[in-house]
């Protein structure tokens, strides 16, 4: 079960059979956690797993499948010190995920820097 983010607690082991060991902890904004849990029902399991495997290993690289765009203007501004701009990932024709990543996130505390992906927003609107 998903719980509140605490930078000092180990991440739950994600995935059943990812092709590569996750390097980034993946977090989702509370307002979109329900949509995150519905992803597989909405677009099937393959695309969400491809997204997860991509961002948990190489979030700053172009995705091997699907497409990504860096948002412009204020929507693309980094949310945390050292985080990336917002990346808009097209998970399918009907689903999009906006995320940022940080390679040395401490949460403003004095903990060890760690790699985090922040899923900011998810949408299934027809554009």
């Amino acid at each position: 079960m998903a719980g509140a983010y605490s930078p000092f607690e180990p991440a739950a082991r994600p995935g059943t059979s990812p092709t590569e060991k996750p390097r980034y902890r993946v977090l989702v904004h509370r307002r979109f956690s329900e949509l995150w849990n519905e992803l597989a029902n909405r677009v099937g399991l393959a695309s969400p797993q491809q997204f997860y495997d991509h961002v948990s290993t190489n979030p700053g690289q172009p995705p091997p499948v699907n497409s990504a765009t860096i948002l412009r203007g204020k929507a693309g501004a980094p949310k945390f010190e050292g985080s990336s701009r917002t990346i808009h990932y097209e998970i399918s024709g009907a689903g999009r995920i906006n995320y940022q990543f940080a390679n040395e996130f401490t949460g403003g505390l004095h903990g060890d820097p760690h790699r985090v992906v922040f899923i900011l927003a998810i949408d299934f609107d027809s554009h």
């Binding site: 998903a2 509140a4 995935g15 059943t16 977090l27 307002r31 797993q49 948002l71 906006n98 900011l120």
Partner: protein, 146 residues
């Protein structure tokens, strides 16, 4: 822009030269009635037409209108619209000077994606607002039993 001018009668005997000149830029052939005809790569014509169309549309945006191709701009706040306009005009100037139209289309596409990303209230509040680490929870890999 300078260009070599040929007569219509030269189209037969100097066609190889005329085509080569046209390929490198433009060749002008003067018809018998005096009309000047331009031979130039199709890419050049298409880029010029696109630049003109986009320039008119951007001019409309600058004057506060939202032309159909920029209908999505209504989702952006004023300073983002201004930033879009500034960037678009700069890139379009590069295209007009011989740059690739693709760079302009990519810019417009990225701004359109941005506008649609903030079209919904919840997404707008998170993407444009302040967030903290405590707003986030762990995301399990889809398909993983929780």
């Amino acid at each position: 822009m300078s260009a070599t001018i040929y007569t219509a009668s030269e189209l037969k005997d100097r066609r190889t030269e005329i085509l080569e000149v046209a390929r490198r830029g433009r060749a002008i052939v003067r018809a018998v009635d005096g009309t000047a005809l331009v031979f130039t790569p199709l890419d050049t014509v298409q880029r010029s037409e696109s630049v003109a169309q986009w320039a008119i549309a951007l001019h409309g945006v600058a004057r506060g209108r939202t032309p159909g191709e920029f209908n999505w701009l209504r989702h952006l706040e004023g300073d983002d619209r201004a930033e879009f306009l500034d960037e678009a005009i700069n890139v379009l100037e590069d295209v007009a000077a011989g740059g690739s139209l693709e760079s302009f289309e990519e810019l417009v596409s990225a701004w359109r994606v941005t506008a649609l990303a903030v079209a919904d209230v919840a997404r707008r509040e998170v993407l444009l607002g302040v967030v903290s680490a405590t707003d986030f929870v762990d995301a399990q890999r889809p398909g993983t039993a929780s």
